[in-house]
């Protein structure tokens, strides 16, 4: 009560000040009020981590592509354009990812790591594919039945490790993973053995096509199907479960502190088993949706790691339902654009998998992102406080970053032609990278940071002329000149800033 009064008083004071001061202060007061309404700063941190890891992963993969000798600018241009041009593709790719992501996220909120959504997805999709052609039901009821049964079967695949974890202490990371492989092998057996489609020219391991009544219709465009609607319903459902129900509250309590939850009268074992069960059910629905909406039959190996991607999605979405939706759409876009990038810019599609892996590694250690965030905040403060020193520092940084890309790119293009000669630009690239790191992380600004790389470029040029026959001599010489000019400018700035001080003394 008293704190509210204090706050009221302070806002009154703000109001008085508003009248006294100009528009700028008034704007600031409005901004303050908006900020007070927004959730706590802590709330934004996961978003910051996710975005930071995406940026970091994109940077690292861009560096790798440069080393491999691809044109990254054209690549990323077509990546973005390809994603914007085909929203239906994005939705199609995102649909199963939303569900497998939700599956991992829900288990995680209960303190469990479901690492086997792949198996739950496959076993669920197999159930849906079989029901899809074996029984005949009217429209609407048929797909719903398939989805429901897939949820039950997938749920069973999650419930077993849940029970084992709760009552026998078997670690769910291992059991879900192992059961996932069991499911992969079992569905493979079913698709190539008992339920293989029969026919004179039938060699592929696949089941019979599902009936028309079981199909999920198109949402829009040629690819997006109603499975996305199901996925949205699941997002809302899981959000509701976690925020508004007793069960969700208990699950979260168990996830935060198992012993405390037990002390408060919650049965942690049952909650754990149930959480993994629901988690498996979600993955099962994801698999069924793909079968009913896209593939129309169970094809051996159709999933291609959707379950694994679910881990990525959940991790990036910080295990919150809406975050998962956002992350799934991001990865959907990455794939849709990746296809275009592959077709037009000839950058291999595998780069998408690489970016995914890097994102996960970076999200795993939020402290890396925190560190970088702190560094950049400090850097901005440094630029504001010490402009005369910071601006040449930034020029040097830009020069060195460019040198890093150029050196590694040159080295990559030279490896097939002349591997020995490629070592020189590679070394210079590493030098430049190190100098850039020193500027960024330690805010060092001294003349050496541009002089040393320039000298290194000079050395590389000389060695190239000596051994390799003038392959990149001109480029290296330009880098030498630019580096020297930067150093001179830096020195002049330094001299200018120091003179008045000397005069004062």
């Amino acid at each position: 009560m008293s704190s509210e009064n204090v706050e009221d008083a302070s806002s009154d004071e703000d109001g008085q000040q508003e009248k006294e001061t100009g528009t700028f202060e008034r704007l600031r007061a409005v901004f303050e009020r908006v900020r007070r309404r927004l959730p706590d700063r802590q709330y934004w941190k996961p978003l910051f981590w996710s975005l930071g890891s995406i940026i970091l992963a994109l940077l690292v993969s861009a560096l790798m592509l440069t080393i491999m000798g691809y044109n990254i600018i054209a690549g990323f241009e077509h990546l973005i354009r390809g994603a914007l041009d085909q929203p239906d593709r994005i939705i199609q790719y995102a649909t199963p990812l939303v569900l497998t992501g939700l599956s991992v996220a829900l288990a995680f909120r209960c303190g469990l790591f479901n690492i086997g959504p792949e198996g739950q997805l496959l076993i669920g999709s197999m159930a849906a594919a079989l029901l899809g052609y074996m029984i005949s039901l009217p429209f609407l009821i048929h797909p719903l039945t398939c989805l429901l049964v897939a949820a039950l079967v997938g749920g069973l695949w999650g419930f077993i490790p849940g029970l084992l974890r709760a009552y026998r202490g078997a670690h769910e990371v291992v059991t879900t993973m192992m059961l996932s492989y069991v499911a992969i092998l079992f569905t493979q057996y079913l698709a190539s053995g008992p339920f293989k489609e029969q026919g004179p020219y039938q060699w592929i391991s696949q089941t019979t096509r599902i009936l028309d009544t079981a199909e999920l219709g198109k949402l829009f465009g040629p690819y997006a199907h109603w499975g996305f609607g199901v996925a949205i319903v699941c997002v809302v459902g899981v959000d509701f479960l976690l925020k508004r129900t007793v069960l969700g509250y208990e699950m979260k309590a168990v996830g935060l502190n198992e012993e405390a939850a037990e002390y408060a009268g919650i049965n942690p074992k049952w909650n754990m088993a149930l959480a993994l069960g629901i988690s498996g059910a979600l993955a099962g629905i994801g698999g069924a949706g793909e079968i009913l909406g896209t593939h129309r039959r169970f094809l051996d190996g159709w999933s291609g790691g959707l379950g694994w991607d679910g881990i990525t999605v959940a991790v990036l979405g910080n295990n919150s339902p809406w975050g998962v939706l956002g992350a799934a759409i991001f990865f959907g876009a990455l794939r849709a654009g990746g296809n275009r990038m592959h077709q037009i810019a000839h950058v291999p599609i595998e780069i998408v998998g690489l970016i995914q892996g890097l994102v996960v590694v970076f999200v795993a250690a939020p402290r890396i992102i925190d560190w970088m965030g702190r560094q950049s905040v400090e850097s901005i403060g440094w630029i504001r406080k010490d402009t005369k020193k910071a601006i040449p520092g930034l020029v040097v940084l830009g020069y060195n970053l460019f040198g890093l890309f150029l050196g590694l790119g040159l080295a990559a293009s030279l490896i097939p032609v002349n591997p020995v000669n490629a070592a020189f630009p590679a070394l210079v690239g590493i030098f430049s990278g190190q100098a850039a790191y020193r500027t960024l992380a330690r805010q060092e600004t001294n003349i050496g940071l541009s002089l040393v790389p320039a000298t290194a470029w000079f050395g590389a040029a000389a060695l190239d002329a000596w051994f390799g026959g003038w392959v990149f001599f001109n480029t290296a010489l330009i880098m030498v000149i630019v580096g020297s000019i930067t150093a001179v400018i830096y020195w002049m700035m330094q001299a200018l800033t120091e003179q008045p001080q000397g005069g004062a003394e």
């Binding site: 790798m64 670690h171 291992v174 595998e350 780069i351 998998g353 892996g357 996960v360 795993a364 250690a365």
Partner: protein
């Protein structure tokens, strides 16, 4: 009479197949043991094997010396493990998430590089294999001759590494520190040992071992790199590690058993006598996974290191 000869030939052949298939599993499991005994979960064995397999083939392709390929495999596995160590040990990140990231990264990276180096999507060019060690005098002995007559030197290196790991883990100060780091890191810290360093070394060792396992697969067992060629062997190695109770001898025995199942499968697909089992190959493949679940469910006690999976935060000193 002919039947008896056939059985003897088959037994020898199966023994050889067991050695051949179990080597990568045992190597990766031993690596995983070093990491997990220091207290860092490493589900990324699969990824480290994959990158080791790729680097081995690439290095052999460029240098035409398979032994340099082995070195490249070991080093690249350790490098990837280094990333895992930085995330898990230095920045105290989530070990399972990081391991999953390692697997995803390795899958993407090796497939990408396959296209970059050879310009193909599926399988790389063939490279020189590590020549087998051929022991002439025993080649005539019925079962042993087939089994040991011609094996890859890496198989023998695997035997040596099992013994060495056992010795290092139980008989050296370093091994004791590894164990303590996984059981009670605070006590180790109190004894004045740098826990983070021990853990980092453990993770690096796991990468080196897994890289060697990958190199075995690509340039000793096969002679090329195929897309995602480890096909879940890293996970089976993880299963062997758990089934073997996180001990070197246990890893060896469990790895040999799972390798035997792998070899049996191989026999079924190529020996017509076993043709009737062909339909059930998938169930034989399932066996290691099911066995691990059964083992963890309590038929057999398996006790992981106590402090596994939790990053060690040094308490602030007064």
């Amino acid at each position: 009479m002919q039947e008896a000869e056939l059985i003897i030939a088959l037994a020898g052949w199966l023994l050889k197949a067991t050695f051949m298939m179990s080597t990568p599993l045992i190597l990766a499991a031993l690596g995983g043991m070093f990491s997990e005994r220091t207290g860092i979960v490493n589900i990324g064995l699969e990824g480290m094997m994959l990158i080791g397999a790729f680097s081995a083939v690439a290095a052999t392709y460029f240098t035409n010396n398979p032994w340099l390929g082995v070195v490249a495999g070991v080093v690249s596995g350790a490098l990837l493990a280094g990333a895992h160590a930085i995330v898990c040990v230095k920045y105290k990140g989530n070990q399972i998430v990081s391991g999953a990231g390692v697997i995803l990264f390795a899958g993407g990276f090796t497939t990408l590089m396959l296209e970059v180096v050879w310009g193909v999507k599926g399988v790389s060019d063939s490279v020189r294999k590590i020549p087998n060690v051929i022991i002439e005098p025993i080649r005539e002995i019925p079962i042993l001759g087939v089994a040991f007559g011609s094996l890859s030197p890496l198989v023998y290196i695997m035997f040596i590494l099992v013994i060495l790991s056992w010795y290092v883990l139980y008989k050296t100060p370093f091994g004791l520190r590894v164990q303590a780091s996984g059981e009670d890191p605070a006590a180790l810290d109190a004894a004045g040992v740098n826990v983070e360093r021990i853990r980092a070394i453990g993770v690096l060792l796991s990468g080196a071992f897994s890289g060697l396992a990958g190199a075995y697969l690509s340039i000793a067992f096969a002679s090329e790199f195929g897309k995602l060629m480890t096909v879940g062997r890293g996970f089976i190695a993880l299963a062997a590690l758990i089934f073997g109770n996180w001990t070197p001898v246990g890893c060896f025995l469990a790895g040999t058993f799972f390798g035997f199942l792998d070899g049996l499968q191989f026999a079924i697909t190529i020996q017509p006598e076993f043709g009737f089992l062909l339909e059930y190959v998938n169930f034989i493949k399932m066996l290691p996974y099911v066995l691990v679940i059964v083992a963890l469910a309590g038929i057999r006690r398996s006790v992981p290191p106590k402090a596994i999976g939790s990053p060690y935060e040094k308490e602030a000193r007064a």
